[in-house]
Amino acid sequence: MRERSLWTLSIASTGVIVVLLGVHMTLMHLMGGEPLEWGSVVQRMRSVLFATTYVLLLGAALYHGLYGFRNILLELNPGATLRRATNAVLLAGGLGLFVFGTWAAVASLGTGATFGG
């Protein structure tokens, strides 16, 4: 039951990724200017829409990617202890990356306001 829920969530995350990656790329390339120049970066950093979709995409993509990685590792049929360790390491790593990415998005709102004038 638990595995089925995780699998269903992984399928659902693909839909979220498709939509939000589309939004992400649109905001990156259609907001004017060269996407990687600091001026364009500041413009995006000040956007709450960009920060919100970034955090949601971050969560969905991390879940989808790490869940897939977990399946590859668990396919080797590790013992119960190693299985729990794998789950714990991937969960901790995923949460750590999510917190770090979210911090960057939220802190960027302030940085964008500072440098954007």
Partner: protein, 144 residues
């Protein structure tokens, strides 16, 4: 998913494929390899782009660290991996949900295998991914 009913008894070789691996099995392997590549890129992307929170100097330094022909080719490989992974992922969703693979039929000799009835879908995936990768290559390296 847990492998409770069909355990992988081949170990690491089971990742690559068993004997007589079919065409879909190679797509499966390619899906995994492209997925792992995308995951590695994604983690790097999180760290590199977080430099924006520290100001313009950090951003310029981070962008300088990931510029050059090696990273440009790497970026294209990420694009190619994404194109294949996304299109093949759509196929996997269809198969998972029972779409585009025909109705169940009675097993009457000569047997029509479900794999044979899905082959056109697999070939379509490869064709669409190929077109996207070629078009992307043109956009990356020629059109600029």
């Amino acid at each position: 998913m847990t492998a409770r009913t069909h355990p992988n008894r081949l170990g690491l070789r089971g990742w690559i494929g068993g004997r007589n691996a079919g065409f879909e099995r190679w797509l499966y392997l390619l899906h995994r390899i492209s997925g792992l590549g995308l995951l590695a890129y994604f983690v790097m992307h999180i760290f590199v782009t977080s430099a924006r929170a520290l100001g313009p100097e950090s951003w310029v330094q981070a962008m300088a660290a990931v510029s050059g022909p090696v990273f440009e080719i790497g970026e294209y490989l990420v694009f190619a991996a994404f194109a294949f992974h996304a299109v093949n992922g759509i196929r996997l969703h269809f198969v998972e949900l029972g779409f585009l693979i025909g109705r169940p039929i009675e097993p009457i000799y000569p047997y029509a295998t479900s794999v044979g009835r899905q082959r056109w879908l697999s070939m379509t995936v490869l064709a669409v991914a190929f077109v996207i990768v070629v078009f992307g290559g043109y956009s990356f390296f020629i059109a600029g």
